[in-house]
Symmetry: C2
Amino acid sequence: MKRPIYLDNGMTTRPSSLAVSRMLPYLSEKWGSPSAPHQFGQQLYPALEESYRALYALVGAKRQDSFVFTSSGAEAINHVIATGYHDITCSTGKNQFLTSKVDEAPAILAIGRLEQLGCVGKMVAVDSYGRVDIQALKESITPRAALLSLSWANGLTGVIQPIADIAALCRDRGIALHLDATHVLGRLFFSWEEVGAQYITFNGDQLHATKGTGGLFIKEGVKSSSFILGGIEQGGRRAGPLDVPALVALGVAAQQLVEARELMCTEVARLRNKLEEGIVAGYPEACVLFCEAERLPCRTAIAFPGMVSEALLWLLSRRGVYGCIGGGSYQQISLVLSHAAVASEQVQSAISFCLSRETSEEEIDEAIEIIVGAAKKLRKLSVSFIPGGNHVA
Amino acid sequence: MKRPIYLDNGMTTRPSSLAVSRMLPYLSEKWGSPSAPHQFGQQLYPALEESYRALYALVGAKRQDSFVFTSSGAEAINHVIATGYHDITCSTGKNQFLTSKVDEAPAILAIGRLEQLGCVGKMVAVDSYGRVDIQALKESITPRAALLSLSWANGLTGVIQPIADIAALCRDRGIALHLDATHVLGRLFFSWEEVGAQYITFNGDQLHATKGTGGLFIKEGVKSSSFILGGIEQGGRRAGPLDVPALVALGVAAQQLVEARELMCTEVARLRNKLEEGIVAGYPEACVLFCEAERLPCRTAIAFPGMVSEALLWLLSRRGVYGCIGGGSYQQISLVLSHAAVASEQVQSAISFCLSRETSEEEIDEAIEIIVGAAKKLRKLSVSFIPGGNHVA
């Protein structure tokens, strides 16, 4: 089979070759534990420092802010929400935890678990672009609100949340703000200082790092105790042997994200736009969703009215183009679109495509052809099989 | 510097070269997500199945038992204890959580956190070998006891817990039993069926797997909800992208542990005994601790009365022999020995050495010479500096 065209970079990305090659010595010769007081452990420090420096630069963190290296973004999100109970609720009595109706599963389920401890979860409604509705948020916040946890951007549609307004509201109401920045890192220019969130988390394997990587930044002065308890590793913030090879790979990936940010915001955005225009030109019923909203440069969600997304996804996969309809730890695109009150024939037929800095123009040209062809074929089949319709042999 | 003699295999082990080489394709070409419905994801299944098979064989689990791949043993222990609250306490009201006074930090601190939720933690006293005192355990258990969490063997002294008696008692009193099997896997022949624990956890980087690996086995029919919430990965038991490369490495390491078990219990035990005898022959004040108890074949704790362990550890490290006095996620050896009511001059001067299947006879011969020499040198210095003593220039 020909090499497939991978447009599922919202789910996972190819680990950077440089990141992998840099991690290898830490899997073979330099395998010590940095907690050990002998040379095998101590020799690891320069590489660790370099990784931390790259990660702090990626989000614009200050030296005084804290970083916890985690095994995934899901762990980091669970960390923020579960310890929020111990660090906020137990000391202040504030017990309302908020997220949006279209947020990803870790935040929604971790808040659900806190309800077993007497907390109150609230999933805030979204507007017609799937963004947090500021008015609904204002009305949802009670005097006992502790924490708002949000994906900075939607992983399927690419729509960016109105973070400035949200952060200002949280500040006014004295609510801690957690942003899952996975989808925006390397795709958006921002300074954490200006954003004003207390916690920023991310998942590494969506950022060209290896699997088993993620992180949590905690603003200076903000309390955040340990989620995985049990040791002095990472300053007591996360027990378990530090996965040095993975952290080295993550550091390299972070540096490359910063270096490729310009490319991402210009060239990759151009290719994304070309993909959208090409699909609509070849298959005029197709509808690019939320293109008037502020979106990430690499993502698009496109509806193909008249067919179901699963069938199109399957046919595309057979023809060597990999897209995504969500699921797993992420939302399902149909859920996101339903909450944004999109028309049901679009909800049922939408597919998300996510480019990376490695996506080539040739791939996009070819993808347009394959996607248009697949949509036309399915459209024909669907028409043929409309119950009571004019059946074609 | 000459290649050091690594006798700190209780802290971390060299990742198996075979395990690392087998994981590499999953870092470079086969980097997909097994949750993805296309070929990039689906091609991973054969390797995953092989890993799971090796892991089930390692502990003697049945197909009906569940396995959760975690990022470390610390995460797995936190999983068992934290979800114990949701799965046992919330449904039955049983709220006492027990461990031993010499258990490792994750269990002790995770139970400590449950006390914030109204649970009662109990650290059970140990006997003169540092084993759980069965009489003390009987007296500690209340009718509301939910879970007993124990390290199967002590990571520093190698002393094995009287698991059969403990498990029988737990069965009688209706208490769930969790065993951290990290130290015994590949070092002890056992069948999980006979042991009777509900949960078995382990940490991979102490078993020649890579860092970022660990696991939790759950007996058929035992409820254990998710600790890291948020997705369908691993049957909904742990959210976050499955770290396929690390799991592949862990599977290979598991198979090698099984293959090397005979060697571990004969040849490595012989070398451990040789180390002990050699040290005592060269430095007769040295005292091998707990050698009458049932111990792991690869570990020894030796006291060197008349000096402090930190000084000896440092000098040994300078001379190229790496031992351990605990700390980090693990206990400190002085704490373990204090609870076992060992004489204070032994408590202060004990060092733990842990061999691996890779330790050679030449290394042991050389280690004996270096350890004896270092102890003699420190002994001379200590005598010289006894306050008010006969100061030697």
